[in-house]
């Protein structure tokens, strides 16, 4: 009986550590580690529309 209790403790502690380990691995940046080096210095690219631009239909609709 004492032997089974010990095994149960070991079992649950192993599972607990495994789950902690999985979370730790998930947050580890493997992608960045194995990513190919890029030569260009990266700026964050923001897409902003020009508010002064005038849009139109794609077909020939000439106003002028």
């Amino acid at each position: 009986m004492a032997q089974t209790k010990m095994e149960r403790k070991k079992f649950f502690s192993t599972i607990g550590f495994s789950i902690l380990g999985l979370f730790a691995l998930k947050s580890f940046p493997f992608g960045k580690l194995f990513a190919r080096n890029s030569n260009t210095k990266k700026n964050k690219i923001t897409v902003k529309i020009n508010p002064d631009a005038v849009s139109r239909k794609s077909t020939g609709v000439q106003n002028g």
Binding site: G31, S38, T40, V47, I49, V54, S55, K57, S58, G64
Partner: protein, 1030 residues
Amino acid sequence: MADNKDQNLDVNYWRSFEELNGDVKSLKLKHDEFHEGVTEDFDPEKNLSGISRRKFLALVGASAALAGAGCSDYREKGEIVAYNKKPEEIVIGKANYYSSTCSSCSLACGILIKTREGRPIKIDGNPDHPINKGKICAKGQASILNLYDPSRYQRPTKGNFGFRNDIDWKTVDKEIKNILTTNDGKEIAIVLHKVNSPTAIKVLEEFKNKYPTLKFYYYDLFDDGAKLSAFRKTHGVAALPVIKFEDAKIILALEGDFLGVDGNKLEQGRKFAERRDVDDTKNFSRVYSVEGNLSITGMNSDYRLRLSPVHQYEFVASLLNELILKRNIGGIALDGVAREVVSSVSLDSFASKHDLDKNVLKSLADDLANHRSDVLVFAGSILNEETHILVNLLNEVLGNSKLFSTTEINENLHEYSSKTEIENLVQSMKNGNVKLLIHFDSNPVYHLSKDFDYENALKNVANTVTLCIEENETAALSNYVLPINHNFESWGDASVRNGLFSLLQPVISPLYDTRQKEAILLHWMNDNVDNFDDKQYLNFLKNNWMTNVYPKINSPLTFDRYWNISLHDGVSQAKNKSQINYQFNRAALNSINKPKVSGNYCLTLTENLNIADGRFANNGWLQELPHPISKVTWDNYAAISHQTGKKINLKINDLVEISVHGKTKIFPVVLQPGLANNFINIELGFGRTHCPVIAADVGVNANHLLSKENFGSSNLYDNVTIKKVDGKGTVVTTQEHHNYDEALIQEAHKKRFIIIEGTVNQYLKDPKFVQTRPRHTLKNINKEHEYKDVKWAMSIDLNKCIGCGDCVVGCNVENNIPIVGKDQVGRGREMQWLRIDRYYSGTPENPKINVQPMLCQHCDQAPCENVCPVVATTHSPDGLNQMIYNRCVGTRYCSNNCPYKVRRFNFFNFRDNLKNSYYEQDSISLLHNPEVTVRSRGVMEKCTFCIQRIMDAREEVTRSGIKLKGTDVKTACQEACNTNAIKFGDMNDLESEINRYRNHDLGYVVLEDTNVRPNVTYIAKLRNSHSEEM
């Protein structure tokens, strides 16, 4: 039974030689069930790694959990967050369109920029622009890639000889302003390409007024110099006339590629195609091409003669002799030099001397004489000034002034600099008399002849500034490298014809810390340069339009309304234009001294249709587009004729050393059918040294052969020598890829009816000649699909298709086609869904050429559909052969079964595979069309008939409650084709154009005998020869 027993006794069956020879070991094996060693005791310690089954399963479980945890971010691209404040003009999932002007070259075509969620994704022609009328060339289409190019300079830098540091704009402005305002009398020089923007010209003028020691130096690698100079002499006008190709019954092209690099290809191609209409054969034009190099125009001509460009002068003189002196046409009495030149030659002797077909020449002379005012003689820019003067005289003799517009002219806002001016600049630079040298988006270190010694002179200039978008040879040697906005991030205008003005508007704010180049100069004119106003150039532009453009238009609207309408339309045209009169000036004939011809090899250094002067060398789509004639990709080469190659014992990829006036360079060779003998053609724009990744190590820099004596004239060189050298080139050509005609049968493309052609006279005599070819009718064992509603089909008119490849690039942009690189193209793995097959027939010396766009035929009985083990390729109710990418497991059986070889397999994730994941970077993801899946490795893909556009049209009509029509959808290739060769629509609509083409007398399908029932119909090519025979 007894007989069988006897038979078994007689026959000796054996499975191996050992058994037959009665080998003892073999006989023993027959007795034992198991081979030796199989039943020996199994020891886990010896035979396994010592891991128990339990431990093994535990390890496998742990590995799977580890992999799952580690790969959980594999596809994570970030969160998709809805707009907090949605811009008013954006409807999620719907595209917006903006008019603008292309600045890829100096033709300034009107464009329509398609944007999704604020980012440009596709460029097409502006349908309201009177010149290009809704079409744009491959360079314009592909320029979208330049906007998102990862190699773009992102911020200003300062430094020398490869050591550069980032610098902020404020510091740059202060330092440059200090240099500009230093009163030492030294020159400020701006080196720039042709400027066609009236507002930019005004900025430059005001800059000069502010800094009086400023001088401008204009140059272009291809500048029509000889042609312009000749026209100025003969007609007193320093601009080229607008030609009405659509009114020309006969066109004689003398080394003139009006369907390619000479002039406005879009306008000229459209006008040419208007007179190649099979439904109006009475007005079918006839094209003669006399050229040394095989051009797109030559490919599409009805008659072609090979003649080295150095002999064109004599040829034109012979024609003049024939018309003026022999046939007394034109009513022009020649005297002096002109009489001497013309009377010293004759067409007959010329034909004998140069081994030209006398029958063709006679037909040409007859056509010129009989159709005079309907004949257009078009000379290419590569010819020298004297030849152009003779050509202008020939046009005058023919009296074809009605073919030249009297209300429109191609405008030049400034003159190019002369050779002397550039020499003076270089001398000033060497003497230290230039305090500031600004390269205004130009690259003279790469473009100018080494004879000028510009590169060395640059080292003596204290302050050099290069305004550019990406790395180039000049920027590498400059102190300040200032990044500028891309065309789609810029304000601007253009005027290429009198009375015609177009606008550029930025559809996206600059992606990086860049500025518009005109705005930089404008800011440097301010007394205080501390604060940059990014609206300063917009206000300047608006002011200029209010002062100088608006009054010319005579619009009844207020300026503000007029401005918004002009931005909307993209173009503004003055209604009243003054008449232009062309008067031939006979005094020009005094300068037509015959150029010396050495008798050695002749060389032309010409423009590549897609790479231009090298500015598109970093554009992977354009590099990968097969050359329209040779089908070479990612390279340039020395093109020589088959006979000349035989003489020097050359094969493709042999190396030759070419020497021109003391300069030598080694090039790989391509034997090009149809080239004149003793003639070499090399295209410029390759062999870039300081350039971004894609352009690096591509081709050979032929600019080393340029001579400064030809600056501003033509790149035609005589007295050239060629010598075979050791080594092999690595030219890759796609012309043998995806073959489906049989390799061992000559002219298989004709015998298998892949290409069907005839003549206009043959068609007039027997309209059904295409339909009377041997036909096969096979029984169908499959259940036929029923198409109750719309059934999509396409037709391609081979009379109008010129083989330029604009459709291929249009498709590439629309459908997110990856760029694979030279190495993969060499293995036949190019991913373009549409290819232009080019077939030769006849002899290598005088081939006839046919081009045929080939794409997925969307067969009714597609052989690819039956063989897919996972049903990844299916048939839609509207006739499309569909591809389900996420079902595909990559057996490639479908591609194996496709008779047209139009399926493409992603052997790699090519974005990741090419040049260190160059196209896997963040900015490139903005380029992708969100309506089309981006395919990954292991998946088959092919033309979808732009199903995303079909679905878009379906949604639109469903919303409106109306029926879907075939004309509601235009495929990307159809939209890109400037000759309108491609038609697409619903063949179930009996009144549609596509139905008419599907049932046309000249219509046929390729490989009809396979019974796959393709839905792409080709209209047979007609050559307008004099007889029924070709």
